[in-house]
Chain length 348, copies 2
Amino acid sequence: MARVGDEVSNKQVIFRDYVAGFPKESDMYLTTATIKLKVPQGSKAVLVKNVYLSCDPLMQFFMRDVEGPDGYNYYTPGSPIFGYGVGKVLDSGHPEFKAGDLVWGMTGWEEYSLITKTEGLIKIKHTDDVPLSYYTGILGMAGMTAYAGFYEVAAPKKGEYVFISAASGAVGQLIGQFAKLTGCYVVGSAGSKEKVDLLKNKLGFDEAFNYKEEHDLNAALKRCFPHGIDVYFEHVGGKLLDAVLLNMRHYGRIAVCGMISQYNLHEPEGIKNLMEIGFKWIRMQGYTHRNYYHLYPKFLDLVLPYIRQKKIVYVEDIAQGLESGPAALVGLFTGRNFGKQLVAVAPE
Amino acid sequence: MARVGDEVSNKQVIFRDYVAGFPKESDMYLTTATIKLKVPQGSKAVLVKNVYLSCDPLMQFFMRDVEGPDGYNYYTPGSPIFGYGVGKVLDSGHPEFKAGDLVWGMTGWEEYSLITKTEGLIKIKHTDDVPLSYYTGILGMAGMTAYAGFYEVAAPKKGEYVFISAASGAVGQLIGQFAKLTGCYVVGSAGSKEKVDLLKNKLGFDEAFNYKEEHDLNAALKRCFPHGIDVYFEHVGGKLLDAVLLNMRHYGRIAVCGMISQYNLHEPEGIKNLMEIGFKWIRMQGYTHRNYYHLYPKFLDLVLPYIRQKKIVYVEDIAQGLESGPAALVGLFTGRNFGKQLVAVAPE
């Protein structure tokens, strides 16, 4: 076993070059570098052994050399890609972290990472009754996104009609369960029969449909929401958003987390029904988990008991080994993942 | 002079039949009916002599037999059209109104109206230093729209970058002056050189442009807003909205009052840049003046002193006589009006 101070081999997923449309597996390649398992003297960095890596839609923006979401670092050709992940601290120059700690935050797609930007790194109070991998998803960025979107941005009330697109995804599945626990009527859309079954039979959604099998999305929504939609959690954009707008109720809220169907189009689809925002006094609001981390302890207090009591379940799609990482990441954009997609890099 | 109890002739603007696209003058016609100047016994109605009638974009929706904004009554073919207006009470069965009162609210396009729906009727405390016609605009529905949009929905702060479309219109000109009084940087768009001059030279806007002369709206906005837009007051929709989205700053707000460029299209233009809402955490919010009338006294306390001190000016385009009403109303949809469009029906 590798020890602090050893120089060891370090398998890495390297970013080849900037990407224009959909990322492909070939935009990344595997290599093996070496790394000294020691934080440089005087540095406040943290050296981690990566255990789980999260695949997130926003990572595609880091692959571009054009403007995308702000405030993130973009990938550098020839360097490892990075994203959210869970790791074990091997060595630390930072007073808040010590060897043996489990942490989650931004890390590299490699076996070992020297994390110099430690601001977003969060120590995990791990207990065996909650899977450690959850800190890439329900207890990590996706969970905070769901929490912020549900409780802070859209705030559905008991009895309201809630629609969630990409509902079996990392964020959607948690929002749906928050909505059911709040007493809402909840419908989700997803891209396969298996996902629709998951929503209805395992995640407790009242109704669900496969958007790929609906010729008329407006009719599908009218069927599921005869009284209209109060709150829409937007992860998809495009034609589905246009149909949702037609079915919104007065004072409806649309929490915009993402519009994954549009990111890789040469030109985004035009949304024609925005007039509904004026007609029905709808609030459409973009948000980011990053503004809500002061609520992370409150979030854990809410969600950890639900997980332990099995009142909230979470479906993960775990790819094994760094080698399978690029395919897992690219699969997000065609909906190949079944639940939260992550990569297991090393045993816990 | 007509007295209470007299039966008199009553010139009216009659709605011919439902309209599909743009309303035309020929969708209305003039006729002369008779009316008894007396509220029926036992009724709580109010009988008014109309003085000023307001031309408002939303009136086009009342001409359709398809769904538009909710909560309004639509026009009936063969009956007079109606809208906001200022009148003098001749007779009243309602305890809150008496003969001689000046009122504003929903009234008919005719010389005399028997108003049975008195819920929205507001008594005017008229003073000679404020034009009575203002109660069709700056002190009426348009004013409340501007006030709600500015102070309650978007709430621009000192130093923020504010853009207003249809900026010389009934609502836009007041929002721009609120923004200047708040210490914002304010730019407006309008559809003629004269309107642009008005914005810059009379209404105190920092910058203004004629959207009809800009081949590239994105470039026009970049020129006026090198640092981007914090708050956009949306009255237009379509291509201008798409360009605005590209120029919004993080945490930007878009207050959606209307999208007049889109109402009469066979199919609305598609908006392609909605992803910016997710990228920049923008709040886009529809609203209606109707939810804010509890603030009307507060609004008057704010705006009447400004009017009296000439810190706020208001540009009106007054058509003379009921006969000129249909052309004035229809002119809104091609931007023929210069400032707030209204119709003077009778001397004060």
